[in-house]
Subunit: 199 residues, 2 copies
Amino acid sequence: MDKPKLTTKQREVLKFIYNAVKTDHRPPTIREIAAYFGFSSTGTVRDYLRALVDKGYVKIAANKSRAIELVREALFAVPILGRVRAGLPSLAVEEIEGYLNLDSLVFSEEDTFALRVKGDSMIEAGIMPDDLVLVRRQNAAQMGETIVALINEEATVKHLSRRGNDYYLVPANPNYTPIKVDENVSIVGKVISVVRRFH
Amino acid sequence: MDKPKLTTKQREVLKFIYNAVKTDHRPPTIREIAAYFGFSSTGTVRDYLRALVDKGYVKIAANKSRAIELVREALFAVPILGRVRAGLPSLAVEEIEGYLNLDSLVFSEEDTFALRVKGDSMIEAGIMPDDLVLVRRQNAAQMGETIVALINEEATVKHLSRRGNDYYLVPANPNYTPIKVDENVSIVGKVISVVRRFH
DNA sequence: TGACACCCCACACGTCTGTGTGGTATACAT
DNA sequence: ATGTATACCACACAGACGTGTGGGGTGTCA
């Protein structure tokens, strides 16, 4: 999967496109490229683009404005590395396990909010005090899910569990006891993510 | 901290723009938006865009094609609730503690990547197996910080600690012992966040 | 010597594109 | 009753834009 080498000039053009996408959040037009390099003809740029397409560095959709697409992954994501190797100036592609896409998590769901965790009742589930849990608002949940429930107007994070005909809010901490779900308890939403930030 | 609310339709338009950027790697034209929604007039789309601009969700550069730019801070901020009250169909403003900006988490730093956690050596710090840690690449760290280090080409998450003149990689699990930092150990970066997703 | 990649230019065609100017209608708060 | 926001429409215009067709030159490899 080795890509053919670029000439210096071709690399400069590619670099300009890359920078344009990065700063403007949209690909440049042919004439914008020509203006930058001082080319007086759009044909010159087209020749460069053809070379870049042929060598597999960009894709171009026909008859559309700003249709240059850089062949690379996810503008909106950070790479997830399976392993890390020493002395790497940049990320090696084969080490990338996938992409972490936080935005889709939030944007697709309108009714999402974050709740700051108080107390250590879920500490064995890796949910620590002051963590933020992302909650998708819904009033039902399935067994085993981590949920946010209201107990007498107080929000709490727990596992939802069932014993016989009864439902319980189960903490992940042996110092606390499960709480039986009754009319004073209502489900606010499901925990879809835990986020902790270090400073 | 103001984030004017969008109407349902406006949100749909915003969503379409977002998806277009994500899939095509370039913003849509006005007519592409019109075609998607079945609008027969470009003026209709322009009205929507004006509303989105006024409310701070997008920016538009004048007289340029595909010049819609998504304002990420507005898109990806979810409210952080201090407490939750029962029977709320919508969120009461006075309960909002702030905004969690997932976007800044990922995009503020150039050299950031995610690493999937293997093993339970940091379990008492709330870092569980299969969690993702967001790592800012740097080759130095301060005492007490959670870091990613390379031990003989193997990446590991630990606390950095000092005892006398020696530095140690300290696990948060009594079943593991601290590792002395020597020439086989190098610091890859600092853990700036922990993210766990539920399904 | 010929083929080919590279590096440029001029100019034209037709469509794409943002913008401008007008309009209709409903809902809602002042 | 008036203004403002929302949610559409029709039509036009000028410049932006990708593309096509033609040309020039240099260097390299076989």
